[in-house]
């Protein structure tokens, strides 16, 4: 069953690129999806990432009790945790919960209300028409969300660190810039592309092949989130092993 599903998933991916419609059709859809996927997620990402940075700062400070360890280590830890793991991976899990479930639910509803059949009868490749714009929009928007999350997480850490008197502004900025390896940003962006692809394709796959009624649409949404999160965690491990 699992192997059959994997095969069906790869065939589904293949179907996205056959019998496509014109570029202008996709362009309009991609812009719409960018708005839905990216712009509508900014507030949630901003809130989560700011608090993530703030809490990381507080907890790192709580653990660094040795007076021999300089204060700037706090922001250095916040920076590396944010760029390497928190921004791409934690936001991916939130992305799966918000965007992935919405994709699966939307496509599932279209399936059970015969809207996908209506597209097929018109001679339109429904998987390509409905899913490809979502995948492209995710690949475009998710890295931007990760960059936003990374910046806001460090800003959140700065604000809470300074306001709580844990670290001075100079030390925080010094720690952020200390021994910075630009590859960590490249690594975060590679992860964000992979996670965006996994969430958008897995969620669309689950939604597209929904059958039954409203109950099954709910099940498809849940499965989309669960499967996406598991895939993100596996991909996270393999990418870290492969690239670091």
């Amino acid at each position: 069953m699992f192997i059959a599903n994997i095969g069906k998933y790869f065939m589904f991916l293949g179907s996205l690129f056959t019998n496509r419609e014109s570029f202008s059709t996709y362009f309009k859809l991609i812009v719409e999806e960018c708005n839905l996927i990216g712009i509508n997620s900014i507030v949630l990402v901003a809130i989560v990432s700011s608090f993530m940075g703030a809490v990381t700062t507080l907890q790192t400070a709580f653990n660094l009790v040795n007076p021999l360890i300089p204060d700037y280590v706090i922001s250095l830890v916040v920076r590396d945790m944010t760029i390497l793991e928190l921004a791409p991976t934690i936001i991916a899990i939130i992305f799966a919960g918000k965007v992935g479930s919405s994709m699966a639910g939307g496509l599932g509803t279209m399936r059970i209300t015969e809207q996908i059949d209506a597209l097929e009868v018109m001679g339109i490749n429904s998987s390509s028409y409905l899913v490809l714009p979502k995948v492209i929009a995710s690949l475009l928007m998710y890295p931007l969300l990760v960059i936003t999350a990374g910046v806001l997480s460090m800003v959140g850490g700065y604000l809470i660190g300074v306001m709580a008197g844990i670290i001075s502004p100079t030390d925080y900025i010094y720690g952020i810039r200390f021994d910075f390896n630009p590859f960590t940003v490249v690594f975060a962006l590679i992860k964000s592309f992979v996670f965006a692809f996994l969430v958008s394709t897995i969620s669309s796959f689950k939604g597209y092949y929904t059958s039954g009624g409203a109950l099954e649409v709910g099940v498809a949404s849940t499965q989309a989130v669960t499967t996406s999160v598991i895939a993100i965690l596996f991909a996270d491990y393999f990418l870290a092993q492969l690239l670091l």
Binding site: M110, T113, D117, V121, G123
Partner: protein
């Protein structure tokens, strides 16, 4: 004209269609009639290619469709309009966008021409002032009419309707039936309607194919359906009191 030859379909070993053959004439309203669960919708889906039959073939004006190449299938499908049981309007688009959709995606028509065509089709189905309404804001009968407008907007040669008056009141049902018949005759479309509604049969049944447990048991029209000697058809036709009364009178 559409021809179907020896269509077989089973799901998980359960036979649903058992060698159905027949012809659907151009400019006529062709009905596939039968009780619930007899395979009417499956047959319709086999004809439009949403389900691949296990055996048999479908021909659209002598063009073999069932085993055709992807390109030919797309070509034929672009001549098809379909009204689904639940209308299948796109929730995120308003009435105008729904009707314009086939023109947007399948043609390179200029915008003003598309707009004219959409307004013409909406007027044809009696929905002139609903362009900006969302599907959730209109009634079931109006949704069906929007579905018909969308099905004919691209000058379809073939119109398929899956239970077009399910869930509608008798007056609206008759209006939808008459609209389908008028459009069929006006544009010389080959129309296939799946129904279990005897009112539809009597109103618009130019050609009728009766299915029972996956088999075709009878073929005829709305004039001779009441004189059939097929027991299963008579049980179906005269299931309600009114029809029994008519038979006794005649």
């Amino acid at each position: 004209m559409i021809e179907i030859e020896n269509i077989h379909k089973s799901f998980d070993g359960t036979m649903v269609l058992n060698g159905i053959s027949g012809k659907f004439d151009q400019g006529k309203t062709n009905l596939i009639l039968g009780a619930s669960g007899t395979g009417k919708s499956v047959l319709l889906k086999c004809i439009v290619g949403l389900i691949q039959p296990d055996e048999g073939r479908v021909l659209y004006n002598d063009r073999e469709f069932t085993h055709a190449s992807k390109n030919l299938k797309v070509e034929v499908r672009r001549e098809i309009g379909m009204l689904f049981q639940g209308s299948a309007l796109f929730d995120s688009k308003n009435v105008q966008e729904n009707v314009m959709f086939p023109l947007d995606v399948l043609t390179k028509m200029p915008n003003d021409e598309k707009m004219d065509r959409v307004n013409f089709c909406l007027k044809r189905v009696g929905l002139e002032d609903t362009n900006k309404k969302m599907p959730s804001e209109i009634s079931g009968g109006m949704k069906k009419r929007v579905g018909i407008a969308r099905a004919i907007v691209n000058s379809s040669k073939y119109l398929f309707c899956d239970e077009p008056n399910s869930g509608l009141d008798p007056q609206t049902s008759i209006m939808i039936d008459n609209l389908i018949k008028e459009i069929t005759e006006e544009y010389a479309i080959t129309t296939v309607v799946v129904t279990h509604d005897m009112n539809s049969v009597m109103e618009i049944g130019d050609n009728i194919m009766f299915l029972h447990k996956g088999n075709k048991l009878w073929e005829g029209n709305n004039q001779n359906i009441v004189h059939s000697d097929v027991q299963e058809l008579n049980d179906f036709v005269f299931a309600n009191k009114m029809m029994r009364g008519l038979k006794e009178k005649s």
